[in-house]
Amino acid sequence: MVVSERRLSIPNNPITGIVLAIPAYFFGVWLGTLFGNTDDQNTGVILGYLFATVAFLAGVGFLNYPLERLFGWRVTPITDPAENRGIGRYFRLSLDHKVIGLQYLVTILLMLLLGGIGAMLIRTSLLVPDASITPPGNYIPLIGLHSVMMIFITSAVIVGPFGNYLVPLMIGARRMAFPRLEALSFWVVPPAAVILAAATFWGGFPTGWTGYPPLSEQALQGMDSYIVGFALIAVALVTSAVNMLATIIGLRAPGMTWTRLPIFVWGIFTTSILGLLAAPVLAAALIMLAMDRSLNTSFFLASNGGSNYLWENLFWFFGHPEVYIFILPAFGIIMEIVPHFARKPLWGYRTGVVGLFGVALLSWFVWQHHLFVSGIAPVLRPFYMLSTELISIPTGIIFLVTLGTLWRARVWFTVPMLFCLGFLFNFLIGGISGVYLSDVPTDVTLHGSYFSMAHFHYTIMGGEIFALMAAAYYWLPKMTGKMLSPTIGRVHFWTMFIAFNSTFFPLFIVGLLNMPRRVSSYDPALVGLNRWVTVSAYVLFGSMVLFAGNLIYSWFFVSRPALANPWHARSLEWQVPTPVPARNFERVPVIVAGPYDYGIPNSRPVADLGGMVGVTGGG
């Protein structure tokens, strides 16, 4: 076969991407004015965002490979991580799962900073009960931006950085199954964040993250940011999920049987099943909403024969599995980290896996608990009440496995361990308050109040973000090659734990006392509690700044590299040298034992790595 020597000659990097994206955006807007409605610019704005995203991805280099294959040009060799080792690799398209993991980490943490600043503005506004600090015209777009930004972040904050970096290392693989898809799942995130933030130029969107029509059809062009940004996140979820499933099923090293799989990988596996099946439903609903807004269809408009219940069902059919997409990898992290510091095998490994699958399965049968007061057929309500309450059984299993692992252990109290215990406490409150919301009679009074807001912040921030912090303190020594300071870490944990509970626990009471979500003016009787919460929220933000400082300080200003296995852990990812070699393992490792066999007499090291250097054994 004759291979042409012709190649695409533009330099592929994000700058090229941005340079291409700007004219592409205006081209899309112009195209929209040609055949879109004359009375609005929705068609143009939606097309503009889509064209800009495609142009950005082309500039980054995603079109090279398909074009090269299509026209028979020579394929640009970016598949081999060994040839691409400079610092610049972090700023370009890379197919190395370790580079993608760190790209994800930094991007998501920057987004988290934006979302956190949004939260601080919201709390500042609520210092006074009469919207005099932030008028509703700013407040409503602000909560929309905060909510959707945080949903973007929490969908990806564990699977993105830690899933991509660690899953191949944990299962003994040299790469992910589909490296290009993996890169795509990262590179759509920055455009999604920029498009979402661009809503500000159109006055934001007024719907919060739920995007209920007809309000979302009445909204200005800011709503188009919500549609395109969220659709890109759906793309990220699906591409990442299919890749994780294929990798975990197909690329496990010899001897890595399903029962030797680290439980964190099981967490990623179950969350990927949910992402693969739920995100397309979101994408479909968003396309229908985009058509309603730009092509004058009326899927969701009662005035023309549609129904807003269609959106509510589609959205929550995605939306409830989505919250388990957040928490399943967090469960995985907790059950993964606790055995290594308890120095005991994971107690009831198989039961824990069953718990993860139980949560994943039940999550498909609960979505209408968001609609108890919406006017759904009353006969449906007992079923959704029961199915929602049943989820506490597999969730209870996660607690049982963790507490069983701690039983009579020799707990080494490191910072990751502190965050694991903090997770258990917070998620316990989050879970119990969830039962209140699942019960129809109490939901009538609690629905849409600050009680439900406090509930999901307890599960997502108190749960997932605490697990994220545990993961950061535990795995960053492998990923960045530097230990985070344990002293700052302890101060960080205690300020974050106390400030978190001091911020969100009073909000349960605020909700019980008649304060609805998403309002900039509230009952003046609640001003005392709200001010307390705001001050606590500032301290909470301060604790996150402390973490950022710890991260930056240790990463860039500490010269002493971390040990290859500072925690003396048995599991496979700690048996490779730090920094991790370009191809992870010199030879494909042969797994001969489970990752948690602590204290078992004559237990073997977890794998035969073929005489690699720099290995410190765990058990």
């Binding site: 007024p206 059809e217 009445q218 009662a302 807003n308 009831g348 919406s374 020799r410």
Partner: protein, 293 residues
């Protein structure tokens, strides 16, 4: 799977935990029983919600105490005391304990579900349920002019939400439209909640009522006030710019005779504008939505 057997090493821990758990749970339950749970007792439905809230809190207390105690106990007693890293006992799991844990949580959950379903199907709450699109009740009429049902007959009131206020139409009083909600005490009320533009949610906190207002839908909710007094009304579903201001505290539960006086006055006031107001209907066909305006 062996017989359920407590190992020698576990005994002191288990005994200690059991004693602390019983004491703290008891103290906790006594404490949470002292709380006056919202939405208090202005209506029968609100009282049901408050008692369910109390039941859930009583049941949650021992669960919360037990798990928190386990976390703290592990942190205190299962802490490594040696300078050297040592492995703990290799316990891989205990099937009877796992079965017991799942069984206990299943019993708790099923108990809650049975209680919840029983509350839903009980006399008072059975009808506190939305029936989208259902026609107005038989005793409600679009033409009934001032034919007030006797005290005790169900009162039909339509709640109409729009950006950004609620209005109310009394079906049994010729569809008279008012700007605030007055209810007679001790008389069952059938609320028909609908919207003219987008989704709102009618939340009368003290009444224990929350029902979404959807355009083109008649969402029905039943409530029986049992105490006179004021109540607050506000929107509980994000409905745009002035969502936070879609609230008022002018709702009143009054005696039947006060209610009769009030509604007669309202009917007199309404006559002057009645011709301009559309006749009473289960829901109103919303105007085509103007987008991006």
């Amino acid at each position: 799977m062996g017989a359920f057997r407590i190992e020698e090493a576990d005994r002191p821990h288990m005994l200690r935990l059991l004693i602390i758990w019983v004491i703290l749970s008891f103290v906790g339950i006594v404490a949470v029983l002292q709380i006056n749970y919202p939405p208090y007792d202005q209506t029968i439905q609100g009282q049901d919600q408050a008692s369910t809230l109390k039941l859930l809190t009583v049941l949650a207390t021992p669960v919360f105490v037990g798990v928190v105690m386990m976390i703290l106990y592990s942190a205190v007693y299962f802490r490594r005391t040696t300078a050297e890293l040592v492995d703990g006992p290799p316990m891989l799991g205990n099937t009877p304990v796992q079965i017991a844990w799942v069984a206990i949580s299943a019993i708790l959950v099923l108990f809650l579900a049975v209680v919840g379903i029983a509350t839903l199907s009980s006399e008072n709450v059975a009808q506190a349920v939305g029936h989208p699109g259902r026609a107005i009740g038989q005793s409600g009429g679009q033409t009934g002019s001032g034919t007030a049902g006797g005290s005790g007959a169900e009162l039909h009131i339509q709640v109409i939400a729009q950006q950004w206020y609620f209005t109310y139409r009394y079906a049994d009083y010729g569809g008279v439209e008012t700007t605030h909600l007055n209810l007679p005490v001790d008389r069952p009320v059938e609320l028909h909640v609908t919207s003219l533009d987008i989704i709102h949610s009618f939340w009368a906190y003290q009444l224990g009522v929350k029902a979404d207002a959807n355009p083109g839908v008649d969402n029905i909710f039943h409530v029986t006030p049992q105490k006179t007094g004021g109540f607050q009304v506000r929107c509980a579903e994000l409905c745009g710019l002035w969502h936070g201001h879609m609230a008022d505290s002018s709702g009143q539960v009054v005696s039947q005779s006060d209610f009769d006086t009030w509604i007669a006055q309202q009917q007199t006031d309404f006559e002057t504008i009645a011709k301009a107001v559309p006749s009473y209907a289960p829901y109103y066909f919303p105007l085509p939505l103007t987008k991006g305006s």
